[in-house]
């Protein structure tokens, strides 16, 4: 203590310069876990820094540390005093201010301090490293030693108050620190460390006293615990990463199966058969494109009639396929088919019994297929008429079904409610029959067209049909993606130009019907 006071007075004598130095070194006390780059042995260490072993190595082997105190920060902050408090018992601090060997333990201590500071884990930061045996630092000047001692005191005082004040007055600390030994039973960690630095200064190079041993053991323990914690955390991360990829895969699968969206319809309500139908319909649309391209190519390249016939027949079979698919889904989910949830909104708007209206199609075709013989004209006209009559009949049948359903549901009394609902459910099964007949009508109309027309005309006809529905679907998309004016009610002209621009710039290629 006497020496310490001597030191102090010495310091106080060299006030301003010391102030300067002190201010230079001040910031480290407020630095959180600063990692100084220029300590050699830190860089040699791996990230899993084992302080316990390091300490032992240093103690036992007499590690030589460069003395770069001027550049090194001496102090680290106390990140979590509470955590580390558990690991270190309270030490009675005995301060031995022997400048013995002038290799101050402070130097080595500071260096190791720095080393500890380099490790990011909080609880290891402030481990007192210091049983660095005094390696001879003959190069230290007395003033530097005094400075460092002073810094230790400052640091200890800070920790004592669990504060890190912005500025420290060297002189103000005059009295307190050395006596911290006695007062610091509620130890904050760096205290023992700073104290131990002095303690090391007092021990000889190779002596390991009981305190040192205990501290080493504790450090080892702490290091091991932190390693285990880190391993556990990493394992947890790995397992959750695996779980995440699995979840993503499941979501992807579910989305492809059950949430197939047609025109932005709510995907969550699809039954599995409906979802499957939607998927198959999408595939059918792709097939449609392919057939169309083939037909177009066949027409343009002026294939022979027999070749063209093959293509046209395949086209008819392609349409038969979709009717077959529809009949399959009608058995399990007739509402999906009937309400047209599989079609685009524009198609859905003009839907008739779950599909297109044959008489309308024929009307449209009659205009497009202009060079027709008299007989063909008669045939097509009669076809249009008969399909119209059939459509009427089916519509009336459906109306009657609707009426009887309304009666059944409305007339259910309180007592008889369940029975009436059962009857209503029974009546709903007729819906499948209607959709089936409507699809039959469509199929037979297409077949009849195929028979009335010549091969070349039939090819053109089917091309027109596919193109027409393709355009109708495109209309849906255009409508959905049109710019909706929120505020510009008075700028109608702007709106139309935007529409035009949008249509022009759209990627949809409309080929001529012919």
């Amino acid at each position: 203590m006497a020496s310490h006071r001597v030191g102090e007075t010495g310091l106080s004598d060299s006030g301003p310069s010391h102030h300067h130095h002190h201010h230079q070194h001040m910031p480290y006390s407020v630095l959180p876990a600063y990692n100084p780059p220029n300590t050699g042995f830190i860089n040699q260490e791996s990230s899993s820094f084992n302080f316990g072993e390091l300490e032992e190595a240093i103690v036992l082997q007499g590690y030589k540390i460069n003395n770069d105190e001027n550049k090194l920060p001496l102090y680290t902050t106390v990140p979590r005093p509470a955590a580390t408090l558990d690991m270190f018992p309270s030490w009675p601090i005995r301060v031995h201010q022997t400048p013995r060997g002038s290799n101050s333990s402070t130097d080595s201590g500071s260096a190791v301090n720095v080393a500890i500071a380099s490790k990011p884990e909080a609880h290891c930061h402030t481990e007192p490293e210091s049983p660095i045996s005094s390696n001879s630092r003959k190069t230290l000047s007395e003033q530097q030693l005094q400075q460092q001692q002073q810094h230790q005191e400052i640091f200890r005082q800070q920790l004592q108050h669990l504060q890190i004040p912005e500025q420290l007055e060297m002189e103000s600390e005059g009295g307190s620190p050395v006596t911290t030994g006695g007062s610091s039973h509620s130890q904050q960690t760096p205290k023992p460390f700073s104290e131990k630095r002095k303690g090391i200064g007092s021990t000889s190079e190779r002596t390991l006293d009981a305190k040192t041993l205990r501290r080493l053991a504790q450090n080892r323990e702490a290091a091991r615990k932190s390693r285990l914690r880190k391993k556990a955390y990493v394992q947890q991360l790995e397992s959750s990463r695996i779980r995440l990829t699995q979840l993503e895969q499941d979501l992807q699968r579910a989305r492809s199966q059950g949430l197939f969206m047609c025109g932005g319809a709510g995907g969550g309500n699809l039954s599995p058969s409906a979802a499957m139908f939607d998927m198959e319909y999408a595939r059918w649309l792709n097939e449609d494109q392919r057939h169309m391209a083939e037909l177009r190519k066949g027409l343009q390249s002026h294939l022979s009639d027999s070749d063209l016939r093959v293509i046209v027949d395949s086209f008819v079979a392609h349409y038969d396929e979709i009717f077959r698919l529809k009949s399959v889904v009608a058995k399990s989910d007739v509402f999906h088919l009937f309400t047209g949830m599989w079609a685009t909104p524009a198609e859905r708007c003009f839907l008739w019994m779950g599909g297109f209206r044959p008489s309308e199609l024929i009307k449209m075709l009659a205009i497009q297929l202009d060079p027709l013989t008299e007989q063909q004209v008669v045939g097509i006209y009669s076809l249009q008429q008969s399909s119209q009559q059939t459509e009427e009949a089916l519509t009336q049948g459906l109306d009657q079904l609707h009426q009887s359903l309304v009666d059944t549901i409305a007339s259910g009394s309180v007592n008889d409610g369940v029975h009436h609902m059962a009857v209503a459910v029974g009546k709903l099964t007729n819906l499948e029959g209607f959709v089936h007949q409507a699809d039959n009508l469509r199929r037979m109309t297409l077949h009849r067209l195929h028979r009335i027309l010549t091969v070349r005309q039939a090819a053109k006809c089917f091309l027109v049909i596919s193109e027409y529905y393709g355009r109708l679907r495109a209309l849906s998309n255009l409508w959905a993606s049109r710019p909706r004016e929120a505020v510009m009610s008075d700028e109608n002209s702007c709106q139309t130009t935007t529409d035009l621009q949008m249509v022009q710039s759209s990627q949809i290629q409309f080929s001529n019907f012919g």
Binding site: A393, Q437, R448
Partner: protein, 146 residues
């Protein structure tokens, strides 16, 4: 042997028609060939019935597909003879069963006979109409003029 038609069945066969369908009875020339009636066999009954009208539809009053068929014919200007099988307490069920056997499907009605010959259920009728064969058939049976 020749059997006379029993009076009970005779009343049922009365052409002034049952219900809200005012279908006229169209006498067929070849009707007179069918003079043998065996009351037990429903198919024979059916045969007898269908021979007596140009267009015969067996239906159920509650069936809406039957309604569609009826609308189709009336829309074409044909007046079919309709037999509502659920309205006839005695023979209705038997004929229904016989029709199921005849058609080979679970739907007994509607069944259409034109000119005494079986045409079939709704899809067959529709198919023949789209094919353009229905109208000539009707004309041949005398159910349609022009």
């Amino acid at each position: 042997m020749q059997y006379q038609a029993a009076p009970t069945t005779e009343s049922w066969i009365t052409p002034t028609t049952p219900y809200y369908y005012n279908y006229n009875y169209m006498p067929l020339p070849h009707n007179k060939h069918y003079s043998i009636v065996v009351n037990n066999d429903p198919l024979e009954k059916v045969a007898k019935l269908v021979s007596q009208s140009a267009v015969v539809i067996f239906s159920l009053s509650s069936c809406c597909m039957c309604h569609a068929v009826k609308s189709l014919f009336s829309g074409m200007g044909v007046n079919p003879t309709v037999y509502e099988l659920d309205e006839e307490p005695v023979r209705g069920k038997e004929i229904e069963k016989a029709l199921v056997r005849l058609m080979g499907s679970s739907m007994s009605v509607p069944v259409v006979f034109i000119g005494g010959k079986l045409v079939g259920s709704m899809d067959r009728v529709m198919g023949s109409h789209i094919n353009g064969t229905l109208v000539p058939l009707l004309k041949k049976a005398g159910a349609l003029w022009l």
